[in-house]
Symmetry: C2
Subunit: 206 residues, 2 copies
DNA sequence: GACTTCCCGTACGGTGGCGTATGGAGAACT
DNA sequence: AGTTCTCCATACGCCACCGTACGGGAAGTC
């Protein structure tokens, strides 16, 4: 995982004497993650990122073995963020409220916060595949537990979690590719409530 | 649309004298569409496709102006297929049955039959964007009409169609990227029924 | 002040894909 | 038979990006 890089990230807070900062491994990973959020896996390219960071490939190949190592680091960072978010959500005690919070996040969270779509698209990639498997499995299990707390039987809870996850993926994809399709303004709230009602486990209110 | 190509596709059924066939414009478009289904927009690349077709770039640049023209032709072909499928579905008179048929198709239709996901991902592409807009708008309007036939008010019908479309997109994406997540065997049918029930307009049965 | 270590700049070769230019073999026409 | 037209092969230059080699400056170390 740490493929042969000397020290970790203690030198980020160096004085940076002459205004000229020295980049850390995490700076690269962060930039890569951001680029991936914006434009997909293909945007993780060494030379363009170097320019964006105001440096050159020389820096990159000091910190990383190759491009795949950068992809790996970016995804690790994403997993950390993702886990942190789920931990934050877990602090909401009322399961129904927790479900609403997640739905709300799917709709109005930061654009491209969830790169699950990007991972699904590039699931063939040797680095991406394992990450995708781990994280999606985690999330669906998480959703299934939530649904069990709401009183569903285990098998139905998982089915429902899977459905919810697919809708979340769909929402993320549409937000990226065709946001004009999503209702705007007041209709937006109505649509959100509609989706929440759709996702609410148990018998539907007429 | 026909950007400067002499004749259309009458010469496909030429004798092909010495076993050596001569490719048509549509042969290229078909191959491009297939490649896009399998591996996304990036797979529409002239040289790889040429090899796959057992020919060279020379053939391609005789039939097409450039790569974008090929993308355009492939998407046109897809729209034609897509319209034909919707027309076939429209022949089912019972709207409820029609809805079930569509759901069934989303799950068990040919792998990658729907490249809407690919289009959503590449919505920035100047050729892809317009196609995406037209087709998705068509489909959602189509679904909304279906829901109106089922007795929903127009605004709710559209919301519901939008939700259904997002789920369909999610299913397609998961089928491509993480098919192991979809229930297999008997559970598959149960999950399908579950989704159909989820998508069924109106009050839910407990 | 020499010496080492860290971090980066630059130059280079390699690969894959795009688009162009040009020639040429066969079929079709007259 | 000669000419024209259709379709393809080949060679070329270009660009973007990967990865390597190597050098060098600035901080710390002795």
């Amino acid at each position: 995982m740490r493929n042969g890089v000397p020290s970790d990230d203690v030198r980020t807070d160096r004085p940076a004497r002459a205004g000229r900062r020295t980049l850390s491994r995490d700076d690269w990973a962060r930039a890569a993650l951001e680029a991936m959020r914006e434009s997909g896996l293909g945007a993780i390219a060494v030379e363009p990122l170097a320019e964006r960071l105001g440096t050159t490939k020389g820096s990159f190949y000091w910190h990383f073995k190759d491009r795949d190592a950068l992809v790996h680091a970016a995804l690790e960072m994403w997993v950390a963020e993702s886990d942190a978010m789920m931990a934050a959500a877990a602090r909401i005690t009322d399961p129904a409220e927790r479900g609403r919070w997640l739905t709300e996040f799917a709709f109005t969270g930061p654009q491209g916060a969830d790169i699950s779509t990007t991972l699904l698209i590039n699931s063939q990639h040797p680095v991406v595949g394992p990450f995708l498997e781990r994280v999606t499995e985690d999330r669906i299990a998480w959703g299934a537990r939530l649904n069990e707390e709401l009183g569903l039987a285990p098998d139905v809870a998982r089915q429902h979690a899977l459905a919810a996850w697919m809708i979340a993926v769909g929402i993320a994809l549409v937000r990226r590719g065709a946001p004009q399709l999503l209702p705007q303004g007041e209709e937006s709230d109505a649509f959100k409530r509609y989706i929440m009602e759709l996702l609410r486990p148990g018998p539907r209110r007429p």
